[in-house]
């Protein structure tokens, strides 16, 4: 296998995302945890770029990192999660074992036989991909994803309202 720029980029992004993920699950200070989360999400955004889905990469950064991670930051601050935590993990051993078992299962049981050993599924089928324009058209066209689009906005609205209601101070309630 040749080492092209794509490969190097892949490795970098992989390291970033995995490293960030490990940072998220092992940090004491959750404020730093949110930073690590942002780092991991950046790595994922990089993957999207490599996978010819630039729009998704942008959305990842804007929405995930820009909104959700910030949201997490607020949550961390609001729940005073910075200074507590004497112990980070509950029952470390079994959990690590379970996670590793899952990983091994996935790799050996699924990815391995189906994708690694099958030479037809190694490379992209074609290099012709849909673009952002097609995605926009899909969201607007009635026989495509227009309805899911509307429903998604509805969902977001409901979630927003729900979040507000749930997190409201209770003495305001009538």
């Amino acid at each position: 296998m040749e080492i092209t720029i794509v490969t190097v980029a892949f490795i970098v992004f992989a390291l970033i995302s995995l490293g960030g993920a490990i940072g998220v699950v092992t940090c004491h200070n959750l404020f730093r945890g949110t930073i690590w989360l942002m780092v991991s999400l950046f790595g994922a955004a990089g993957f999207f770029v490599l996978l010819s889905a630039p729009f998704l990469a942008a959305v990842q950064v804007l929405v995930y990192i820009g909104a959700i991670a910030i949201l997490f930051t607020f949550a961390v601050m609001l729940t005073r999660s910075i200074s507590n935590l004497k112990t980070r993990f509950t029952r470390l051993n079994i959990n690590i074992a379970a996670a590793i078992a899952l990983f091994v299962l996935l790799v050996v049981g699924v990815i391995g036989p189906v994708f690694i050993l099958n030479p037809d599924l190694q490379q992209p089928v074609s290099s012709v991909t849909r673009t952002t324009i097609d995605l926009g058209e899909a969201f607007a066209r009635g026989n495509s994803f227009a309805l899911p689009f509307e429903l998604a906005s509805l969902l977001l609205t409901a979630a927003m309202i729900g979040a507000i209601v749930i997190a409201r101070e209770s003495d305001d309630e009538v």
Binding site: N95, A98, A101, L102, L105, V108, G109, G112, P113
Partner: protein, 821 residues
């Protein structure tokens, strides 16, 4: 079937009277009323009833019972005397007899007939028995007048009389044995009539068991006789066919001891004689008779004179031909050949006659002397039969019954008189008002005398064993007066008497006549003639050199001497001299005009008459002077009785020719004994407090031995009574309580344990399971609940693990994992 006219059927009627009287009195007329026991005495003994109500015969019950009883015996008397006089008048009587029998028991191809008969031997008894029994009945009217159970008494003596008459008229051994046993029962009931007293019921048991031992052996004899001959009828065995059956018995060797020369007849004879030894109180089974004094005096008269002991002698007299035998083992006592039964009778009878006479001289109780004299006289009769003096024995039986019954009833009279004296003494010694206003003579006497019969047996040694309070307590004022006497008063003790001759003259004369008859006072008393006959027979055989005859002669002569001696001793101590105690000084029967003394004295007079006259029926023909007066055609009695046995040479009784020597011996012993007794006791009668001179003569230890009956009672107690009690005790404790109760308790324990075990099983197993299941479920539920921690992360972990596992399973099963290999 006309009972009234056919003399053959009339004997059936003879026992009917008294037996019917017994049934009627028992079922109908014996009625009692409950009265507080207060001052009731039972023969001088006051049982510990407190003031509890006890049944006492009502007056009309007494009158009715007495009437029925008297009716019964009078009826028997009339029928039997009519038969006797008819029989005597009949010249063929003997070879032809009155009798009747009925087929009774069918045994295979043969039939046992039972019935009644009157033959010459029976006839003599049928003359004596109803008469003596009637006298006793009359005597009982007065004697038991104050006893709470007089009606019952009459019922029992009626039964006794009925049994005796059954035995007398029986024509077979079976009926005889029935009468025999019923008399044994009656002796038990009557000796123990005052059953509250320990000495009385013990004496009753002793009498019954001692005679029972002998009766068993007698039954064996009867059974064996039936086995050999196939019949029990007297005439068939001993008379018919000129004694053919006797030959059969004589020729058959006995089942037991046949090799020792016993023929069947001998063995049967020995067994029957053993029965008589028990019933007639010969050595060694004589021990019951002195204790039989515990019964009321009429009972003593009946048992010891008229009925029971006579029955024993009658039985062996009846079976005499069997004892003598015929055939190969026949005996001829007139010629000195003896069989074993005859030898047994001679030895036992002779020995007992002397043995009992020696004991009689040392007795102080007036009735005990008479008891021993009865044993001695029965010995005379048995010895007489043993040497072949068949008629003499029968004669002595008849005369003895008369004078012995007379003596007993007279002694009862004496005792009543003594108690009357005792009552007087109490009265005067205690002026402290016991409110005894019933001293109107008749009433007091009736009450006191009737209440006082004591049948305490008195031997010198158990004097203190009696409760003299019995005598004192009659006054109903309870406790004893220490002031009165330091020792208890015994109205039967001759040492307490004396001088009664003036107080109770009629009794005195009656006693004297009876006593002299017993002693054999020459020529004018019946006893002399019967005793003389026995001695004459014995002498005849002794001169011919027969050993048993000589033995019998010597023993009987000495016994006759002692008999006269103790009779005089008894008379002197009781009647002569001065009263030795205050009680005797005041003795008396309350005058001749009250009903009690009349009924008690009439029989004495009747029997006294016969005690003199009866002897003249048997005067030997060749006796000087008297023979020609009374027996010009030969002795009446002899000729009557000799016809009752089969006229075989060895059996038929013979009349010894007159020999002066035995007559002189009879004179000598009788007069000599009476004189010696008078010398010792009568010439200078004993004063109060003087000891018996006999003690000094014999020496205290010998006297004590005689008084203690040669310690035979102690021997029997040691050998028989104590081991029986030990065995009974052992069986009770070890077998009954130990083994049987032990088994029962063991079974109970086993089942209790089983119950407990099942209970535990139930608790643990069944409850355990039925409680354990819910418990287990609860536990499992509790354990499972541990998985519900409520923690999300743990739930998620569980989900992950299961998912991984399912994934592995799917991966493996789909072969995906196997591919790389």
């Amino acid at each position: 079937m006309n009972f009234l006219t056919d003399p053959n059927l009339q004997p059936w009627l003879i026992p009917v009277g008294p037996l019917l009287a017994f049934i009627i009195i028992t079922l109908a007329t014996n009625r009692a009323k409950l009265t507080p026991s207060g001052d009731m005495v039972y023969g001088g003994f006051r049982p510990p009833y407190g003031n509890m109500p006890i049944p006492v015969a009502t007056n009309w019950s007494r009158i009715l019972s007495i009437s029925v009883g008297m009716g019964g015996i009078i009826m028997s008397l009339l029928v039997s005397w009519s038969m006797v006089f008819r029989a005597i008048g009949d010249h063929d009587f003997g070879s032809k007899i009155f009798g009747n029998n009925i087929p009774w028991l069918a045994t295979g191809t043969s039939m046992l007939n039972v019935g009644v008969m009157v033959d010459p031997l029976n006839a003599t008894l049928l003359f004596m028995v109803p008469l003596a029994v009637l006298c006793i009945f009359i005597y009982s009217i007065g004697y038991m007048a104050a006893d709470p159970r007089q009606s019952r008494f009459f019922a029992l003596i009626s039964l006794f009389a009925g049994a005796m008459l059954t035995l007398t008229v029986s024509d077979n051994l079976l009926f005889l044995f029935v009468g025999w046993e019923v008399m044994g029962l009656c002796s038990y009931l009557l000796i123990g009539f005052w059953f509250e007293k320990e000495s009385a019921y013990k004496a009753a048991i002793k009498a019954f068991t001692t005679t029972r031992v002998a009766d068993v052996i007698m039954l064996l004899g009867i059974v064996y006789l039936y086995h050999v001959t196939g019949t029990l009828n007297f005439r068939e065995i001993m008379y018919d066919n000129n004694g053919a059956m006797l030959e059969l018995l004589g020729n058959t060797p006995a089942i037991l001891f046949g090799s020792f020369g016993f023929s069947a007849a001998s063995l049967i004879g020995v067994f029957l004689i053993i029965g008589t030894i028990g019933k007639s109180a010969q050595f060694p089974l004589h021990v019951w008779l002195p204790d039989a004094m515990q019964g009321p005096t009429p009972v003593s008269a009946m048992i010891h004179a008229a009925a029971m002991v006579s029955a024993g002698i009658y039985a062996i007299i009846r079976m005499y031909p069997v004892f003598v035998g015929a055939g190969a083992f026949a005996a001829d006592p007139h010629h000195g050949i003896f069989t074993q039964p005859l030898m047994l009778m001679a030895l036992v009878g002779g020995f007992t006659a002397l043995f009992a006479a020696t004991m009689a001289v040392a007795q102080n109780d007036v009735k005990a002397v008479l008891a021993y004299s009865t044993i001695s006289q029965l010995g005379f009769m048995m010895a007489a039969l043993g040497i072949g003096a068949y008629v003499a024995a029968t004669f002595h039986l008849i005369t003895h019954a008369f004078f012995k019954a007379l003596l007993f009833m007279a002694s009862g009279s004496v005792i009543h008189a003594m108690e009357h004296g005792e009552h007087h003494v109490h009265e005067h010694a205690h002026g402290d008002g016991h409110g005894h206003d019933d001293h109107a003579p008749t009433h007091a006497n009736t009450h006191e005398h009737g209440a006082h019969d004591h049948s305490e047996v008195h031997d010198a040694h158990d004097h203190d064993a009696d409760h003299g309070h019995a005598g004192h307590a009659e006054h109903g004022h309870g406790e004893e007066h220490a002031a009165h006497d330091a020792h208890t008063f015994d109205p039967q003790d001759m040492m307490n008497m004396g001088g009664l001759r003036h107080k109770i003259p009629v009794t005195f004369y009656a006693f004297m006549i009876g006593g002299f008859s017993l002693a054999g006072f020459p020529l004018i008393t019946a006893g002399f003639w019967s005793k003389d006959e026995i001695l004459a027979d014995a002498w005849l055989g002794a001169t011919e050199g027969f050993g048993p005859h000589a033995f019998v002669f010597v023993m009987l002569a000495i016994a006759a001497f002692l008999t006269a001696f103790y009779t005089m001793r008894q008379l002197s101590l009781t009647f002569f001299g001065e009263a030795r105690t205050e009680e005797a000084a005041h003795a008396g029967l309350g005058g001749p005009m009250n009903i009690v003394s009349q009924t008690m004295q009439l029989p004495l007079i009747i029997l006294a008459f016969f005690a003199i006259v009866a002897g003249f029926a048997g005067v030997p023909q060749d006796f000087p002077i008297f023979g020609s007066i009374f027996s010009s055609d030969g002795s009446f009695f002899f000729h009557l009785v000799e016809r009752s046995v089969v006229p075989l040479d060895n059996i038929a009784p013979t009349h010894p020719p007159f020999n002066i020597f035995p007559v002189l011996v009879s004179f000598a012993v009788a007069l000599g004994g009476l004189y010696l007794g008078w010398v010792m006791y009568g010439r200078k009668p004993l004063k109060a407090g003087e000891p018996d001179p006999l003690v000094a003569i014999l020496g205290p230890s010998l006297h004590q031995t005689l008084a203690r009956r040669y310690y035979m009672d102690d021997l029997y107690t040691l050998v028989f009574v104590k081991p029986s009690q030990a065995v009974a005790n052992f069986v009770n404790v070890f077998i009954d309580k130990g083994v049987i109760d032990g088994i029962l308790h063991g079974v109970a324990r086993v089942f209790t344990w089983l119950g407990d075990f099942i209970k535990v099983l139930n608790l643990w197993l069944i409850d355990g399971v039925s409680d354990g299941i819910p418990h287990g479920i609860y536990k499992v539920g509790g354990w499972l609940r541990g998985t519900q921690t409520g923690r999300i992360q743990q739930y998620l972990l569980a989900v992950l693990i299961v998912t991984v596992l399912i994934g592995i399973v799917l991966a493996v099963s789909s072969g995906a994992l196997a591919a790389p290999r």
